[in-house]
Symmetry: C2
Subunit: 178 residues, 2 copies
Amino acid sequence: MAHRSLPLSQVYRLLEPGPVVLVTTARKARPNVMAMSWHTMLEFEPPLVGCVVSDRNHTFAALKATRECVIAIPTIEIAKQVVGCGNISGRSVDKFARFGLTPMAASRVAAPLVAQCYANLECRVVDTRFVARYCFFVLEVVKAWIDRARKDPRTIHHRGMGSFMVAGPTIRLPSKAR
Amino acid sequence: MAHRSLPLSQVYRLLEPGPVVLVTTARKARPNVMAMSWHTMLEFEPPLVGCVVSDRNHTFAALKATRECVIAIPTIEIAKQVVGCGNISGRSVDKFARFGLTPMAASRVAAPLVAQCYANLECRVVDTRFVARYCFFVLEVVKAWIDRARKDPRTIHHRGMGSFMVAGPTIRLPSKAR
């Protein structure tokens, strides 16, 4: 694990392809982690991310109370653990222990990084105006970490009903977009 | 091209993996099309999609004025045309003609479907409260079409700087999520 700092201007490159991510929180010194697929970039820099955290999830209350989280981006190697995190509530279980995930201290937030993930984004909640209507939180990424040793991270992408697309080859096309 | 109707309850399965999509609009009988990657599901059914359309894009004004669009989901076969649509503005060019894309009449909105895309989602704008701050539109999918002949659609996923991940294999994991 060689987690290096990533310039915030590059964060969108991690989230645009739509990976399943883990979201960690820490409330009353108790870390928790959930799986999430409903997220989108909202701004390049500072990176703003919009995401839906259902009010049925244990994470919802922690996110509202602490206004901090970590978005950790997993790859195929830990797909079973990721799906496991999505299948069980943190109300009664320490999911880090249950699934052998290692919490690591973050630098700017109390929520932990996930050591096994190839990228980790420390986030603060900056806008809650859409939470009541859509459970939609606006997060600002305040610090980003990446394992640069992982050249071709095979992220997983939720297709519903137990079906996941695994990232295939990368191609280059002459795009004028950032 | 065998575009069949898809139950609205299944729409999230198309958008969750994070594909680059095309967005079509029709203003003053003039169709236009742009490429987009900043989108997320907000609700299963009726399917609500949140998406960022920059106010620098020609589509922004059309979307505000008509409150309708189509989200068309392309695959690797037309990746060059998709990136081309993202590289040029519809202000001066008929992008359908330029890139050999075929507009087809939609059933519920004036914006056209894109015949070459394996799925098309007819959308109405239902919430514009986040447009001023984030250029974030909330869309309701009112009709969905899919080409069921395409068993393993290889969608493309933007990784920034001209880099695109192409959808790889699909795996199954015992997820309790929908």
